[in-house]
Symmetry: C2
Subunit: 236 residues, 2 copies
Amino acid sequence: MIMSAQTHLVHQFDEDLDELKHLLYSMGDLVTEQINNATKAFRTGDIDLAQSVKDRDAAINALEVSTDRCATLLIAKHQPTATDLRFVFGIAKMATDFERMGDQARNIARASRDDIPEELIEALAKTNIVESTIKTVNLAMLALKNLSETAAVNTLRSDGDVDSAFRDGIKVVTVYLKEHPDDVEKALACLDLLKAYERLGDHATNIAEHVIFILDGEDIRHLRLDALPENLTKLS
Amino acid sequence: MIMSAQTHLVHQFDEDLDELKHLLYSMGDLVTEQINNATKAFRTGDIDLAQSVKDRDAAINALEVSTDRCATLLIAKHQPTATDLRFVFGIAKMATDFERMGDQARNIARASRDDIPEELIEALAKTNIVESTIKTVNLAMLALKNLSETAAVNTLRSDGDVDSAFRDGIKVVTVYLKEHPDDVEKALACLDLLKAYERLGDHATNIAEHVIFILDGEDIRHLRLDALPENLTKLS
């Protein structure tokens, strides 16, 4: 069966959109892997692994450039409107978030050193900031890949745990600094680390907000969690 | 004279683009004002002024939402291609940067307290981080409003001074922390402050890179300053 010109165009649009989604998902997968490796490097003081995370950041940056190029080409070629345009636009915005998440994984790798006192590592581990952040990022990826509003709303809630763990972590470092003024550099590395996880949670939140925008056309970026529209609060 | 349909469309496109630019410039102007006020609040320990900066951040967030809405509407309505599309796309990306710059101004305001020791304020002032950052942000605004490649390249160079001042600032705080373990909270507020200026410089750099992309179609976001294309290095 020969396709009509119209069918062909729709088919071509779907293919181009798939390519664009593939680029964005690749960014997300690579970012997730970088976060996991950077976390491992920090926890074990593995300086080689930390270096490999720093080296691979360039691959995420290159994917951002490709994603943006692909998005503008798709718009120019197919001139999408309504939901399709919102999707393409959202993808370009999410690419920026993933690129910044890559920077934060690099920051975690940079903060890795093999002489962080055990006492400090254990106190920070109790805040669960790493687990909360990785959970939040995974929820955002789920929201994106499944275009799931429920996962998106759960991402926002999960980021609340990251923020709370962050505040606990700051207290841990503050107390440690008062008691060990000679260990300032090590404590500041932990502060950089905490900040990186906290920012990762924020970017995951942005991803979730873009997913909601794509699905609903509802821009909730600057609303408080308790001021979400009713259709969304019911999901949680 | 009655306009032809074609002329009318072009005219309408120009009007819509002007509205979009106006929204983005308003964000930029408001961000610049917020940075100046936050800086003043920190320097003078003016807690009321700090509060007003925090309160006004919502206006920047609202402008981001309006800018994005205006950009997608413009694309859907006029289906721009090539340079025009790159411009509209670039505006949407820059809106994200301005929104984050607003957050950094708020962070400076948050870090403001009226009990930072004079000795620490003076030592940080010597790094010139505030002057370097404000210069970098002003250059980025100039690059944007005049679509000036020269101003854009100068923004990138100026951010080098911010980064260098940031490193000096970290050293100042590190030394201070070792000598005054009881002043941890005050020193950490200064660290938040330094970080905020450093991030402002990064966002100004992003703006400049988007301007270059709009003008040249050249994506230089992840190139080192010494690896810029020859046509750009000649400008500096």
